[in-house]
Each structure stands twice: as C-alpha cells, then as structure tokens.
C-alpha cells in the first residue's frame, strides 16, 4: 500500500472520528435533556404535563422513523444554512446530530424507566424539588444506563457516518465506497472495515468499563 493511500486512510479515520465526536457530543447535550423531559412529563411523574409529553413523543418518533439516508438529503437546505455548505464532514455532522438526538432521548428515557419508582417517591417524601430529583436521583441512579445509551449511540453514529459519503461527507465509509468499491481496491475496503470494527470495539469497551465503574448494584 502506498504512503499516499495510508495518508488517505489516516485522514478518513480522523474524519469519521470527527463526525462521530461532534454529532455524539451535541446529540448528548440535547438528547439527554430531551430524554429526561420525556420521562418527567409523563402522567403521574414529577413534572406531569401529558400534552407536552405527547407532543415531545410524536416529534421524537418522527425523528426516529425517517431513514437516515433520506433525512440527510431532506435537510440539505437546513444544513447549508447552519454550516454554510452541504458537502464535507461539517455538513455530514448536521444530519448525524439530528438523527442521534431522538435516538439518545428514547434510550435515556428507557434508562430512567428502569429505575425503581420508589426512589423518586422517597425523594418526594423528603421534600425534594423536581430539579433536585433530576440532578440528585434520576441522573446519578441512571448513570450506568445512560452511559450504555450513549455507547449504543456512538456505535450507531459510526455506522451512520459511513452513509455520509453519499453526500460527499468524507470519512471511512466514503473511502471504502470510492476506492474499495468503485475503483476495485479490495484491500482498501478491507482496511476501512477493520478500522471501523476496531473503532466500534473501542467505543463498546470504553462504555462497558464506565458502566462497570458507575454501577453499584
């Protein structure tokens, strides 16, 4: 393999990591609060707002149901407005983020759902405000579940980012398609796949380690 090729693979790896990191970070910052909202606004919950809950639920479901490849193309104008271009890794990060937010939100909601309702009840009995319950009970107690949710999200983002090549997004998936497939270079295809596997494995191991560290059950 030529040094130019190695250089190409190296940069494609960085591009993928960049897209996953940016979209993962923003999706966490927006998706975790949305997931908490979905949970606490449920009927009989600490901030029960059934109508708001329904609306948030529907928006989240719409976000979750649009196939990523369609979402990517459909929001092109929005992407251009936001980052000034519709091609490249910054442009690809926008649909990745949009797709990941509802994904994170539902997984976080699920993690909170796993908690014993008795914990919230006990905190309420002690006179905790909804905000204190979120910060001091829900988030710490669901920490393991939330880390698991974020790990799943990162892994999904790695796989989604491979599709970003379709809009000239760059990254390993793009490289694999353009060189490995279009130019019949199977060794490039193999290398990109191996790197993706290692990357996913790495995220998963890191996630598992953090879950183990935070779990006291």
């Amino acid at each position: 393999m030529s040094s130019a090729m190695i250089d190409l693979i190296f940069h494609a790896t960085l591009d993928t990591l960049y897209m996953v990191a940016i979209s993962g970070l923003i999706a966490t910052l927006l998706g975790v609060p949305l997931g908490i909202m979905l949970y606490v606004t449920r009927p009989r919950q600490i901030l029960a707002r059934p109508v708001l809950n329904q609306v948030l639920g529907i928006i989240t479901n719409i976000g979750r149901s649009i196939p990523f490849i369609i979402l990517m193309v459909a929001i092109t104008p929005f992407t251009r407005m936001l980052v000034g271009t519709s091609i490249g890794i910054n442009a690809a990060a926008v649909p990745l983020t949009i797709a990941a937010i509802p994904f994170v939100a539902r997984l976080v909601e699920g993690a909170l759902n796993e908690l014993s309702p008795g914990l919230v009840e006990a905190a309420q009995a002690m006179g905790a405000t909804p905000w204190q319950i979120i910060c001091k009970v829900l988030l710490p107690e669901a920490r393991g579940g939330i880390i698991t949710a974020l790990t799943v999200t990162l892994v999904t983002l790695v796989s989604y980012s491979a599709m970003a090549g379709a809009v000239g997004g760059g990254g390993l998936g793009d490289l694999g398609i353009r060189y490995g497939y279009n130019r019949f270079m199977p060794e490039i295809m193999l290398v990109t796949v191996i790197i993706l596997v290692v990357m996913v494995q790495g995220f998963q191991s890191l996630g598992d380690y953090l879950v183990r560290k935070s779990d006291r059950k």
Partner: protein, 347 residues
C-alpha cells in the same frame, strides 16, 4: 400530631372509578405509635401516602403538627415534608450513594453545609448501629441494615412524624423484631410520633399503642391495642386476631359443628379472658359450681404489651340448663364467650 379529616381518595382511570379511601378520619396524638392494619388492597398505602401528600386526597384535610398541609403551595409542602420522615417496604435507598451519603441526602436537600451534615449524620449512624458501615454501599448490606439506613435517613431532618409503609414486610422475623425495637426506641427517646401501616398483627402487637382497622377504603375500627386484642368489635378484627393467634377450631371439629342446638348436642365455645380472669382458676370452679365437664380443645396465653390475654376453645359437656348456666357464669366473670356451634354427644 397527625389528623385526617374526612379524607377520601378516588382514582379515575378512563370510565373506571375506584374509591381507595372513603371518608377516613384519624387522630394520632403526639408521641404515639399508631398502627393501621388491613388486607392488601384495603387502602393502607393510599392512607399513609395521604399524610405527606404523595397522594393528594380528592376530599378532606390532612393536618400534621398543627399545619393543614393540603392547603400548602409546592415549596411550602416540600418544607413541611422535611418534618415528616418516611420509610418503605423496599427501603428505596440510592444505590449510587454509600450509607453516609444516603443519610446525608435529605440534609443536602435543605442546603446544609458539608460540615453541618457530617455532624448530623454521624450520631444518626451510631443511633441505628451502623457507624462502621458508613462507606459501604446499599448493595453490600442486608435487608435489616438497609432499613436501618432508611430510618437514619428519615430522621435526618429531625422530623416530628415518622411514616412507616410496611417497613418490616420484606424482612425475616428476627430482623423484623430488631427493626421494631429500634422504632420503639426512637419513639421513646426522641418522642417522635409514628404512623405505620402493616398487614402483620405481630407488628401491631409489639409496638403500637393504638390500632385502626381498614377495610375497602374505610377505617372500620379504632382501639387501644390491648382492647383490640381482647375484644375486637368487627368480624374482620376477629378474623385478624384468630389468624394471628392461630386459634381456629380443628377441622375435624368444624365438620361436626351444627349451628343450632338440639336435645343431643352440647356447645363449643371460644373463651377470651384478660386481666384478673387470666390468673383465676375459672375452669375448675366452673366444673364445680355448674357441674359441667369442660373439655379443652385448644388454649393459648399471649401477652399484649402490659396485658395478658388467654384464649380457649372448649366443649361444655352437660345438660342444656347446666351449659346455659356455665356460659352465664363465665360471662359474669368478664370473659368473652362466643358459641361457635354445637356438636353431637359422643355417648
């Protein structure tokens, strides 16, 4: 200290309306340990949750420590709740916090300084006997130890009232005894008023001063524990007592029992005696004075707090007049006599 005034709670689920609590009135004086006993689904949980408004009553008022908490706004209610401790059947400890931090939790909520928290938590851990477990996590503790942590946590803000929601139902008998002792202890040393709900007569018997019986959302009986154990006024009360004392006539006898007497039967009676009657040799006197033979089928003596309670199921053998006289004799000596039925003579 705790007063429920005409409290009702209705749940509406679509078109289905369930009345979990009907017009409940309850008064628990300062320093008392009051038990509410009932079968599952009778409304015990709803009742105790109405005291700190975990469930908001549909109607009625809840007064705790002179304050009508049903009229409070959210932030005032949270303040009031700091003065109402609560412990639960499944402990509800925070799994990601160690013992010390679990007890510190309610103090953090009130915004106490780290130093003040420390000086409050340490004596509490000593009080519940867990001073050496401060750095352990709940998962490393036994059920009894978890409930001790929960008790320390409930006491952290020096509440006037402690609510116990089936606090010993998930514990084995031995641990139950030790937790009940701890509760009695804090009632006596701290003067804290305790309201507990349970389905176990043992709990009522060992620590309560007064007991209320709840059935289908209604408080049907309210009595001093000694009175309740000697003479429950309702059928449900008698059922609870008989189950607890395991004093039900043998099956073989029940099959032979007939409801009304005839010329060839004699009565089977359940005798309940308390106070002086326990130490009086009534049965032998009965045999002498009424010339009946008494065949004892079952007997038991229980001590309920300071009172002694005797129970007996016996067959009174004699002619109609003799047995009638015997029952009158027993009743005149403050015994509670219940005729369970009549059996055919064997002779």
């Amino acid at each position: 200290m705790i007063e429920l005034i005409n409290v009702s709670k209705t749940y509406t689920n679509g078109s289905q309306v369930t009345q979990a609590l009907k017009n409940a009135n309850l008064h628990v004086p300062r320093g008392a340990i009051h038990g509410v006993i009932g079968l599952s689904g009778a409304g015990k949980s709803t009742l105790i949750r109405c005291v700190n408004l975990l469930e908001r009553p549909t109607e009625g008022n809840v007064v705790v420590d002179g304050q009508d908490i049903t009229r409070l706004k959210d932030d005032q209610l949270n303040k009031a709740r700091h003065r109402i401790g609560m412990i639960f059947q499944h402990f509800n400890l925070l799994t990601t916090r160690n013992v010390f931090d679990n007890v510190a939790f309610p103090l953090e909520l009130t915004g106490l300084s780290r130093q003040a928290i420390k000086s409050r938590v340490e004596p509490l851990l000593k009080l519940v006997g867990l001073a050496d477990k401060a750095r352990q996590f709940p998962a490393q503790l036994s059920g009894g130890q978890k409930q001790r942590v929960a008790i320390a946590r409930a006491l952290a803000n020096e509440p006037a009232v402690l609510l116990c929601d089936e606090a010993t139902s998930a514990l084995d008998p031995q641990t139950t005894t030790s937790i009940l002792e701890l509760l009695r202890d804090i009632n006596q040393t701290l003067g804290i008023t305790i309201l507990l709900i349970t389905h176990e007569m043992e709990v009522v018997k060992s620590i309560c001063h007064r007991v209320s019986l709840i059935s289908a959302g209604e408080l049907v009986e309210d009595a001093e524990v000694g009175d309740f154990f000697t003479s429950p006024r309702t059928q449900l009360g008698r059922d609870f007592l008989n189950d607890f004392l395991e004093l039900t006539p043998p099956k073989e006898l029940v099959e032979r029992l007939q409801p009304s007497p005839d010329a060839h039967t004699h009565p089977v009676v359940r005798l309940t005696f308390s106070g002086d009657a326990v130490s009086t040799p009534l049965i032998s006197r009965l045999a002498r004075e009424c010339s009946v033979d008494v065949s004892i089928l079952q007997a038991k003596v229980e001590s309920i707090q300071e009172r002694t309670l005797g129970l007996m199921i016996a067959e009174l053998v004699g002619d109609k007049q003799q047995t009638h006289q015997a029952i009158t004799y027993l009743e005149s000596h403050q015994l509670d006599v219940e005729v369970l039925g009549h059996v055919q003579r064997n002779d």
